[in-house]
Each structure stands twice: as C-alpha cells, then as structure tokens.
C-alpha cells in the first residue's frame, strides 16, 4: 500500500516532529509514503480561497495532480489542508465549467486534472485502510492507564459530505476515540468535544477572542475530564492548544497545563519511535506522558 503524504506548511515548518511521526508510523503499518515532490501550500483559507475560486482550485488541483499522476491518494495531518484540498476535489467533481477553467490554467505546466486522487486525514485513513486490529497488533507500547481527552478538529468533520473517511454522525464523532482506545488509552468525555480550538482566521483576526474560545474549551476539559493528555486529529489544533496554554496561564485565564499531542505522535510513540524525534517540539512538557508510555524513565 502506498499513499501521497501531503505535509502542509504548519507541519513542515512549525511542528516537523509531527512530520517525523507520520514518516515513522505509516511504513511500520505497511503503508509506504510518497513525498509528492514539489507540493505547495494547500492553499490555506485566508489566501486564495478568499480571493479567487478558480485560482484556489487551480493551486489545489495542482497538488491533487501530483498524487493522481502517480495513481495515489493523499493523506494529511492538517485539517486545513484536508479541507482545502477536499473542498476543491468536491467542487471539481460537481462543476464541469470550473474544472475546465482549472485545466486551462494548469495547461501551461503540462498538467491535466482528472479527479482520481482521494484526500484523507491520517486518522481516518488508518482507521479505514489498516483497521483497529492491525494497529493493536503492531504496538510496542500501550497507553494503558493513560486518560486522554479528544480534539477531533473542525475540518476533520465538516462538511462531512465531501470526505471519503467521514463519520457516520459528524456531530457525534467516534473515530479518534476508537483509534485512541486501540492504543489502550482510556478516553474521557467532556461536553465541549466538538467546540472549535480558536486557531485559524479567528486567531489572526483577534487573538483575544480566539483565546477566550479556547479557554472555555480547556476549562471544560479540565473540570469534566481531567485527562493526562489531549489528543488532536489536526495539526492546527495541536499548535493552538499546545502554545496557547502558556499565555493563558500567564494571564490567569487558566491555572493548569495539559500536554497535547497529535494522534500520529501518540501512535508513533506506541510503535516505539524515539520521543525526541516525534514529540520533541511540544511546548507543554510531555515527559510524564512519555514515561508512562515507555515505562523506562529515560526521558
């Protein structure tokens, strides 16, 4: 099995430990990664999607072409990439005149978008194509005794109709939870599970309001679930939830710290990856969590 790995700007430049986690885990589960050399930004929502529909679609379609030219699907750990590429794929499937415009733009680079490559997010891809049992059997370490709270991420869920790895009921998602339980973790519920983390356009527009939104969510997690760890399915959620806790503590908006990891980082750790490589850039100390997983006190 082989799939194109769409890295995404935030993962490549901000959290390459997450990139390492993907590069480590997929092959161990029998999925070879293709680099889709020359891939660009998805492009993200505040850029081309906000300027020009055909232009956005052309940049995304070029990325999709890189996979379809090799007969591959795409997998990403970033909700925005998943959403931007997935939306364009969906639009091009349903709008022949847009597809025509896009192919006219791509023609100069010798490309022609056909629409064969599907776009998956990492958790959904593994859940559907590898399955919980195979994941369980591949583990070197388990998360037994670890309480995790989930952050599935907006773009992993909505609009569900465009995604090949959609949830049955996107307002009551269960995939990320199933995948964490497959690692042996106890998944603890809290009422604001599907609330937004505040990253994205809102954070750029008004950091205060974005952080207020997150504060409500974090308090709900702490008070109702009190987990050892927050597990995200999206690199943007990872960055927001991991970095914002520091200033929120400083401003006395919260008075606790909860470590945050992307699911792929947690999986890599359970598969035996070197912690420094796959989780070495976490802002909130993940040492205790890693010790608990590896049980070797070596971190």
């Amino acid at each position: 099995m082989k799939v194109g790995f769409f890295i995404g700007c935030n993962t490549a430049f901000n959290r390459p430990d997450l990139e390492q986690a993907v590069r480590f885990s997929f092959p161990l589960l029998g999925v070879e990664l293709d680099d889709l050399e020359g891939q660009s930004c998805c492009p993200s929502w505040g850029t081309m999607p906000s300027v020009d529909l055909a232009g956005w679609s052309a940049v995304s379609a070029r990325n999709l072409c890189l996979a379809e030219e090799k007969d591959l699907d795409i997998v990403t750990v970033c909700g925005s990439c998943y959403g931007s590429l997935g939306e364009v794929r969906h639009k091009l499937q349903n709008d022949p005149s847009l597809k025509e415009k896009v192919n006219a733009i791509l023609k100069g680079s010798g490309r022609n978008y056909r629409g064969t490559a599907d776009v998956y997010q990492s958790v959904g891809y593994l859940c559907q194509n590898i399955g919980l049992d195979k994941i369980k059997q591949s583990l070197k370490y388990s998360l037994a005794g670890l309480k995790v709270a989930l952050q599935p991420g907006c773009h992993s869920l909505w609009p569900s109709e465009i995604y090949p790895d959609r949830e049955e009921d996107s307002f009551h998602p269960h995939m990320l939870g199933d995948m964490c339980r497959a690692l042996g973790a106890e998944v603890v519920d809290y009422s604001r599970l599907t609330d937004c983390c505040g990253m994205g356009g809102m954070r750029s527009a008004d950091m205060g309001k974005s952080f207020d939104l997150l504060t409500v969510k974090l308090n709900s997690i702490k008070e109702e679930a009190d987990p050892d760890l927050i597990v995200t399915g999206c690199s943007s959620c990872l960055i927001q939830m991991d970095t914002a806790q520091l200033p929120l503590n400083k401003d006395k908006k919260i008075n606790f710290t909860i470590p945050v990891l992307h699911y792929m980082q947690l999986l890599a750790l359970c598969l035996g990856a070197e912690p420094q490589k796959v989780a070495g850039l976490a802002k909130n100390d993940v040492g205790a969590v890693i010790n608990k997983i590896r049980g070797d006190g070596n971190v």
Binding site: C9, A12, P43, P49, S109, C154, W158, G198, D206, V278
Partner: protein, 189 residues
C-alpha cells in the same frame, strides 16, 4: 465590543441592488435559499466568540444590499472555515461559501487583512502561505532534512505555482508585486 452588532443600523433605502448578484457571482450561489432560520448561527464559533456579523447576519445584510456596511466590518475574516454551518443548514445554503464570496468582494475593494496579504505574498514567493524563517533549524532538531521535499526544494515547482497565480485575479487586484521567475526569465532573454 461584543455587542457591536447592536450599533449597526441598516438604511434599507440605501441598499445596493446589484449586491445579491455580485455575491452569487463570487461563489455564494445558494444565497437566496436562506430562510433565516438561524441554525448556522447556533453552531458558529464566530458567533460564540462575539464577532458582530456572523453567517446568518451576513446573509441578511446581503439581502438588505448593505454592501458598504459589510465592507466596513471585518468579521468575515474571523470565520474559521469550519463548515459547521454548511453541515447543519437545512436549506443547503452553504453559508461558508457566502463568507468566502463576501471576502472575495472585499478583497477587490482592497479590504483585506495584512496577514492575508502576507500569506498570499508568501504563497507567491516561496509556495507556502505559512513559512517560518528558522524552520530549517527546527527540522534539523528532530532529525529531518533542513528543506522539506516541497516546492521549497524545487525551483521548477515554484515557477509552476507562480505561473498558476499569474493567471488568477490576484494579478489584476494587485495586492503586492508579482515578479516571479517567469518575469525574471523573460528579462534574461
């Protein structure tokens, strides 16, 4: 601040009659299906966080033809692109598409946040809207090559991206100078 919306007064006689058509043209095709039921607002993070003009209100304001008022308000840029609204709308309006359409109208009036211009410029210059200068060091720290196998490692790919962007409305709108490899090549000849 949070109740900023209460201060917005719509002058119904001053509405722009062509506005609805303009929004539809920019991608908000299902606009007129909206019955103002408010489901989209009930799940919207922008509404929850207190931005005055969220999905449902934006649509109503477009019905009013309140183009100038909307151009003066920056709420649309706080949209999270989360598509909760698209998922829940019983009329398939796809409210997020209306937000994007309104942004496209605003961009053509040069009403666009600096961060978006920077992102677009970065997309054009290096192929990534988000690019951190010291990223190479961060990557080395976790054992990855300094440069990822993206457009950053491929001058041809960057040329391709720039050629694509050169054919979009970006060039006409003129938010930043677009002098990519294509032009440099031309001047070399």
């Amino acid at each position: 601040m949070i109740n900023g919306s209460a201060e917005i007064v719509y002058d119904l006689s001053a509405g722009d009659p062509g506005f609805i058509a303009e929004i539809k043209e920019m991608g908000g095709e299902e606009l007129l299906e909206c019955i103002q039921c408010g489901k989209c607002a009930s799940v919207c993070p922008m509404a929850l966080a207190g931005f005055p003009i969220f999905n449902k209100k934006l649509i109503q304001a477009i019905f009013f033809g309140a183009r100038d008022i909307l151009l003066d308000d920056s709420s649309i840029w706080a949209c999270q692109s989360c598509n909760r609204c698209t998922e829940i709308c019983p009329r398939d309006v796809r409210p997020f598409e209306i937000i994007l359409a309104m942004r496209r109208v605003a961009v053509r009036e040069l009403a666009i946040p600096t961060l978006s211009i920077e992102g677009l410029k970065s997309l054009y210059d290096v192929g990534h809207a988000v690019y951190l200068r010291d990223a190479g060091q961060t990557r080395l720290k976790v054992g990855l090559p300094e440069t990822p196998p993206t457009v950053l490692a491929s001058p041809e790919a960057l040329k391709e991206i720039q050629a694509i962007l050169d054919q979009t409305d970006l060039r006409e709108i003129g938010l930043f100078p677009m002098q990519g490899n294509g032009m440099a090549d031309a001047s070399e000849v």
